[in-house]
Symmetry: C2
Subunit: 345 residues, 2 copies
């Protein structure tokens, strides 16, 4: 392995603590939607070994099949997370264009331009927040790449989290603002980071205590309802638009991994979702996590790495809703966790 281009840095508790990872985001100025891109480079300038685990029943994805461990491509240059439901998949085109402009991609020949950037992508549904005709396209994806850096990414109502909403089990009127969040865990020289856009049907809860932080509210709007408890007590969930929820994200590490292990790391991330979101992985969620291994750090016990991934994902979900800000959309007030805390103080 070459000398790492990125020496260890002070931990900012975000995914860009992972060496070889940059994040860029574009937030639409017209209505709450946008996209977030994770750029990945290994020590040799190539991409990161990648995997994916789709656990929700209503996913919207692109370039996930090539990530099966039995398939050819080992490394990807970027992962895109986008709002805009299936329309948002177009933003990946802009990411590909930006990568081509920078000479990054899977080599498919020796002549100039003979490379194909590999950009797996997942989207979330945010079309009920403002004008549904506005959604991230290729230019949004390109702009996100232009903005990419190793700086800690902005969190909350930003990029893919701009229009994210949580706690929709009893309808949009009692829901709260979701968002995008990030966190990292470091053990020795190895870092695992997560960037998660939380648009869940369920509530976001403190993974250590189970206490709801943002989710479905009581009829007076002032308190959290604890969706699963209400469900199990026999309250009927509100019929919600199919596929109008989803938590999508990236788990990245600088430890080296083979492709099959990258898929397992994404799976470990889902255990973090199970701890931080309730209910999660429902028929109405398209919960999808990607994993990236840049290989800038030494290898580490894989069970430890998975525990780090679960922890980073769970904490990123909490950061997403803690960084979110309340939103007025189409006559609907979607308060954030801090709004609710302020109103109770």
């Amino acid at each position: 392995m070459n000398t790492p281009k990125h020496p260890p840095i002070e931990r900012a508790d975000t995914i860009t603590d992972v060496r070889g990872i940059q994040v860029g985001q574009h937030t639409d100025p017209r209505r709450p939607t946008g996209c977030s891109v994770v750029l990945a480079q290994g020590p040799d300038g190539g991409g990161a070994v990648a995997g994916v685990d789709v656990r929700g029943a209503a996913p919207g994805t692109r370039e996930t099949d090539l990530l099966a461990p039995t398939n050819l491509v080992e490394r990807v240059q970027a992962v895109l997370l986008s709002g805009g439901s299936a329309w948002g998949l177009d933003a990946a085109s802009g990411v590909m264009r930006w990568l081509e402009e920078h000479g990054l991609g899977l080599p498919v020949g020796t002549a100039p331009g003979q490379l194909v950037p590999i950009v797996p992508a997942a989207v979330l549904f945010d079309l009920h927040v403002g004008d549904a005709r506005i959604r991230p396209g290729a230019d949004a994806g390109h702009a996100a790449c232009q903005a990419a850096s190793r700086a800690p990414p902005a969190q909350g109502n930003v990029g893919a989290g701009a229009g994210a909403v949580v706690g929709k089990l009893f309808g949009m009127a009692s829901a709260m603002k979701g968002g995008i969040g990030s966190a990292s865990v470091r053990v020795g020289e190895v870092t695992v980071g997560a960037l998660i856009a939380v648009n869940a049907l369920g509530d976001v809860v403190d993974p250590d205590t189970g206490a709801p932080i943002a989710g479905a509210r009581t009829p007076d709007g002032q308190a959290l309802r604890h969706s699963v408890r209400a469900l199990l007590a026999g309250e009927a969930p509100q019929a919600i638009l199919a596929g109008s929820n989803t938590t999508i994200g990236v788990v990245a590490t600088d430890a080296p991994l083979i492709k099959a292990r990258a898929q397992r790391l994404a799976g470990a991330g889902h255990d973090g979702l199970a701890r931080a979101i309730r209910p999660v992985h429902t028929m109405s969620d398209g919960d999808t996590l990607f994993a990236l291994s840049t290989g800038h750090a030494p290898a580490i016990d894989f069970n430890l790495l998975c525990a780090m991934a679960s922890e980073a994902v769970a904490r990123a979900c909490v950061h997403a809703v803690r960084a979110a800000r309340g939103l007025q959309a189409d006559g609907l007030w979607l308060p954030s966790a801090i709004d609710l805390e302020a109103s109770r103080a």
Copy 2:
């Protein structure tokens, strides 16, 4: 649908609260190992619609491929959970024999005896507890079926949980006794129950508070260590025999489901494992959950059913270690949760 043969019953908080479900267990008298069988019948006397979700990296299974929603067979007559590692898969033969004796199986012709009982199975590793040459075989599987009834199943050091151990991340010397546990959740006329044999690498924690109940102990043996916290603080896990851990179980409901949904219900069960076991789904665990739908009850919102499954599985894990009793094996003292509580009292 015919009139249910099994009218609703008082809830005993075990899997046999689910109409159409019986449980039988055989515990080896020679050393702590055994097997547990779940027998399932629909209102028409046929089996239950079934699914499976294998989420651990070191599974030992039989008849799981046919459960893929794209494959032919829709219903199974029984699911076997067994100790004895891969040897324990033989116990399924005895279950098949018992089912044949009772005329139960997939019809493959009209002549007498022309049926094939379908018995998916998963095993856990308990060969380090006593004489490894003793393991459940066909007779054990047959005996478990003979013992089957609608009575609440015994929990703790019984059947597939007889030799189960938890909290092995820092070695067997600091581990504790695992076991088999059951729980049920009822909403309206629908019940979801779980039967889970917990032999996890990780700790069993209270799913509501995250507090460890049984797992790796401190060097003095008197307190719980909180494995994930220790891992993330940099403590090196002990190299453990590959595949020497696993949590296996069955989630059953009397609500009707199509086969593809049964697989999703098993997946929802894994979210319960993620809440009750940390770490879970590791490279050294073969975590496998089956789902059964007997169809004796009316249909219910599927997201609610999944929330019930997560809850039942999480609580069954807690019941498993709370019902367990300490075990002396090969000079190793494996205390149970109640032993640890007693020593601290």
